[in-house]
Symmetry: C2
Subunit: 468 residues, 2 copies
Amino acid sequence: MTIDPQIVKSLQAIVGRKHVLTSQEDLLCYSFDGTFAEFMPDLVVEPRSTEEVSAILQLAYAHEIPVIARGMGSGLAAGTVPFGGGIVVPLTRMNQILEIDRENMTATVEAGVITVDLQNAVEEHGLFYPPDPASIKHSTIGGNIACNAGGPRCLKYGVTGNYVMGVTVVLADGRVFSSGGKTIKNVTGYSFSELFTGSEGTLGIITEAVLRLISKPRFVRTAVAAFDRLGDASRAVNSILFTGIVPATLELMDETAIVCIEEAMHLGLPLDKEAILIIESDGFDEEGVKHEIKAIARICRDSGASDVQVARDEAGRDKLWRARRSVSPSLARRAPNKLGEDISVPRSQIPEAVRRIKEISQRYGLPIVVFGHAGDGNLHPNILFDKRDPEQWEKVQRIVGEIFATAVELGGTLSGEHGVGTLKLPYLESDVGRVSIEIQQAIKQALDPKGILNPGKALPLMEPSAHF
Amino acid sequence: MTIDPQIVKSLQAIVGRKHVLTSQEDLLCYSFDGTFAEFMPDLVVEPRSTEEVSAILQLAYAHEIPVIARGMGSGLAAGTVPFGGGIVVPLTRMNQILEIDRENMTATVEAGVITVDLQNAVEEHGLFYPPDPASIKHSTIGGNIACNAGGPRCLKYGVTGNYVMGVTVVLADGRVFSSGGKTIKNVTGYSFSELFTGSEGTLGIITEAVLRLISKPRFVRTAVAAFDRLGDASRAVNSILFTGIVPATLELMDETAIVCIEEAMHLGLPLDKEAILIIESDGFDEEGVKHEIKAIARICRDSGASDVQVARDEAGRDKLWRARRSVSPSLARRAPNKLGEDISVPRSQIPEAVRRIKEISQRYGLPIVVFGHAGDGNLHPNILFDKRDPEQWEKVQRIVGEIFATAVELGGTLSGEHGVGTLKLPYLESDVGRVSIEIQQAIKQALDPKGILNPGKALPLMEPSAHF
């Protein structure tokens, strides 16, 4: 689509001439996210305030131009790729931490604040913002909320949505409203903070949020346990949680992941084990944390771990986390490309899910590495392949379909933390069912009757005839 | 309204003749809740399954008859009083715990299960369902979810909504769908479990839920701290939470509450203190729990508590909880009637909220007792009065309005855990604003275009012309 020069002028009047990007070089930067998908936007408009977002949307709504809100574009489901063109609206200029309220333990932030910047800022006050998506160093709070981002620490501390106490949202037609705030308990009106969280920019644009903070844990201990059998690792996970211990993180890496890391990092990881768990305990009482990590180590041994080590110091802990964090990059040594998925299954189904994924891998002859957040059943199967080979790329598509089918068959879901975006749309109905999609569409239609907000993402477009 | 005898026959065919109640005596039982409001339903229909609920709604939808879903009717906002008549649908026959899954730590339940029955059942498996509304012994899980019920333990463990992993819902037109399930992390599709939680029966009827369980804490210690000044009690609350300690409960009672309890129970409470805090610490490590309650006691003393005692044994603990639980009944000694409200304010505003409420009380010459969940800013001001005196009843209405205005002015909200129902509707816009109400109405209209589900509750009816 081409955007009328008069509209471009009006947008320039709203945000200033230099914040309306039109050159192909500039537009290119907003044509992709963390996936293989890409599509050129017609225009990029960078607002500095909720009022500017509102003015942009009033204009776009009047002219029925698609608007794709975006943080840093680190998404893994092609949720911000502007298929069909339109105006991309990065919230990155809205990057102010407006307030850190020590007494109420809240932070009020603009959507474009980088998550790690928020974390560092609140930690200076002895406070803690727990959600830690892998993209933490470059993704924004607004993007995290729009996708309800997770991360390793979410086992103990909950996902992004558990920290959203209030949101300011601009609706499709430019109306602005706030929901929630600094009250911890609030049952007045529908749960809008929760509805907009995870709605992937399809119901409104989140411009500000009030976030819950907690006190920063003062002590942390990390253990690594190696298992000959993956099933034993899974049993250990359940046994730990059943005793009432909730580790800060409980991360699983399968044997292919271990081998890849070891090849890349030479950390001395065992190469003949089906699984490694990295488990971290944190808290406010040094003795309590030590006591907990010892109990965890014992449970791992009792569940069949062949080797359990507790990091003695920060250097040892750092080594373990370097291992965990290097999983994804280390896979690059194995194949030119990887495609990381994000299924979530009931915790008890982890062994069966991994078994089936390995079977799929063998059948197609492409390696699939499995790692993820074992404590909450959220697994990241990564398919290794060479995108230049059309046959492999075609296989990858079919593998993805089979992985999703496996998740759903096991009572799980397509996405634990990445979202549906564009890429998971074809599989959505198999997971949530027809009626759920109808309700999503009804709500989308109610809040965005012209369908201008991030069209074709998160839920299927309605039949054109169904729009009024 | 009168319901056509043919429709009554069809309803009898769905649920069985004896489960369609028509006598005035039977209907009377479903004409009120925990408030002073009442209105006779036209019919009560008691389903035994999701399918029966669906069949009832298909019929009601076709004939545009209001349907008011209901648990045990213990609500405190007239949310289930069938103003305007229609069919009351109690979910109380759907009272089966369908599964307790020890491995995934979940319970799958029908909506009519009494909350305490679920708690007892899961505790037999070493598991724990934390939400503990005061009505726990007679309210249902379905009602708890529909109102997103709270309770003292929610400070540490979160409200009902934090335990809802999945719901099965029957929509206004009888369509059935499920959202969520046993996966801990799930970002596939909009957050429907969250949207239906707290929607007070206006968007659909929740018939089943998958609930998250945790391990049952093994040790508990309880302390009571008396403060000469309420401001000091409030400071103690903030200091405790800021150290990273999250007590299981942190309950506040003001001086009037203390005096009422003491008059009724003779527990030896001090009568000259502005506030008492009852604080409970729980966990899995006996030493850790002891250590924590000692730290709490120290912080209370440092914050100005004139007396702090830690219960030595279960008998001592029981005495403290008898005191807390007897607040509400003990008020009956002071006045024939009481009206309990449920405001929530940012924690830092508790002293100011209490000060203003006391000022309102003095100005109107009616006692207002304040107690509640200080840790999360959720206060229950209880107005004492004699309903037979029309002048007092009129004052009570005005006092309620002033209390709500105070909550909103202080950045708080009308309801922390009771819901909006009918009684708070006149104040809703002052809290959430016009746009929020418009969005609520748009979503209501999208899911229940004929407006048959619990009409006139939780959000204002749309102008008739706005319905299609």
